[in-house]
Amino acid sequence: MKSSITKYILGGAVVAIVAGYAIFNANNGANAGSSGLPSSLPSETSSPTAASSTAVAAPTSGQYKDGNYTGSVADAFYGKVQVAVAIKSGRITNVAFPVYPNNPGHTIQESETQLPVLAQEAIAAQSANVNIVSGATQTSQAFQQSLASALAKAQ
């Protein structure tokens, strides 16, 4: 199973991606847009985004009043989540979490076991500063609910 997957990747990936991008590039050429993207981009004042039943209205630049706004507390499966947004010059400048799930005091014990190609460790909080965060939390329903209520106050 695994070896067949690898063969597929080595064999098929390049061919299809090249084909796909060729089609996409041909499209760009036809449109001759300076941005390299289809020229039929919608205007900035797009309609609200209905991403789910708890959708957040799509903000465009400059539509909010300046200030800090805190959303309602929403339920995530792992606890309560609350979102706060900072607005400056009508634009969102920061998204923060004033309320976050309690961390149920798990013990951190680095116990690295070497496996042939994989290694294991207990997860542990890192203190290093970061520019960007990778995670799935920002698309959770609880996040969107609280964010929507914070942005509603900023209208």
Binding site: T6, Y8, S40, S46, A51, Q120
Partner: protein, 259 residues
């Protein structure tokens, strides 16, 4: 210059730094490029959102749009989806059990990658695009260092459990069960894939990282072995017991915690 907007149901952030060139003209150019980047995402949303009745994908799913009338972009996404399905042994499939299509698992990474291409074509080299925690970074940050990326703790969203550097234009994508509940299904069994809580993939770009993260997640605990088998990819998988399993080359990206 950084800006965040809510599009496609998630916060999308674009930051362009340019320490080497300054001035009012440069500032205006950065602002215009960020505006064009958000317009690109808005257009992708209008075309591919399954939540919008007016989108092209909704028209296709409702049987309102014959194939000969599909946009070239839609054809590209379907071709890439078909290729990804083959490359993952069927674990990635945009066809849902009811016969409709949901290409969002591929469109997001593809849209981020195209956004990065757009910014590069405008002549910028130091920037990142972050759409709901999936990231394409390029060049260096405002301090001239490689962009640093935290991997969020699934149980405490203020905490990072890893910090890595993206020094060579890598894409970084995380799939998790905490996205809209359990949202990824094993297409072979129809069962929810719940053996793992979070899977972060570092790939040569965000399109590659995101599609393989999505597919691998559906494999459950085999996910990390699959990622480890791909040349040029590294992964960090967290299971419900709070144990992380990482590929052999992961630690080369890691910024060691000084604490």
């Amino acid at each position: 210059m950084k800006e965040t907007r809510i599009l496609m149901g998630m916060p999308i952030s674009v930051e362009i730094v340019d320490a080497r060139r300054g001035g009012t003209t440069e500032e205006t150019r950065r602002a215009a490029t960020i505006e064009a980047t958000f317009a690109h995402f808005a257009h992708i949303d209008e075309t591919f959102s399954t939540y919008k009745d007016t989108s092209e994908i909704s028209a296709i799913n409702a049987g309102r749009l014959p194939r000969k009338e599909w946009s070239p972009e839609m054809e590209v996404v379907f071709a890439l989806s078909e290729e990804t399905k083959r490359a993952t042994g069927g674990y990635f499939d945009i066809k849902r059990p009811d016969g409709t299509y949901d290409p969002s698992g591929l469109v997001k990474g593809w849209a981020i990658w195209n956004a990065a291409q757009l910014i590069m074509k405008k002549g910028f080299s130091d920037f990142y695009v972050d759409a709901g925690g999936d990231i394409q970074a390029h060049g260096v940050n405002g301090e001239g260092d490689p962009w640093s990326v935290g991997i969020r703790n699934p149980w405490d969203i203020r905490e990072n459990v890893q910090v890595i550097r993206a020094a060579h234009h890598e894409g970084i994508a995380t799939s998790g069960t905490y996205i809209r509940g359990t949202h990824i299904y094993d297409p072979h069994t129809g069962a929810a894939a719940d053996a793992i809580v979070s899977l972060t993939v570092i790939g040569p770009n965000i399109y590659e990282a995101d599609r393989f993260a999505t597919a691998a997640f559906a494999m459950g605990s085999d996910a990390i072995r699959f990622i480890g088998s791909l040349p040029g990819f590294e992964g960090y998988m967290i299971d419900a017991q709070r144990t992380a399993t990482k590929t052999a080359g992961w630690d080369a990206y890691r910024i060691t915690d000084a604490a």
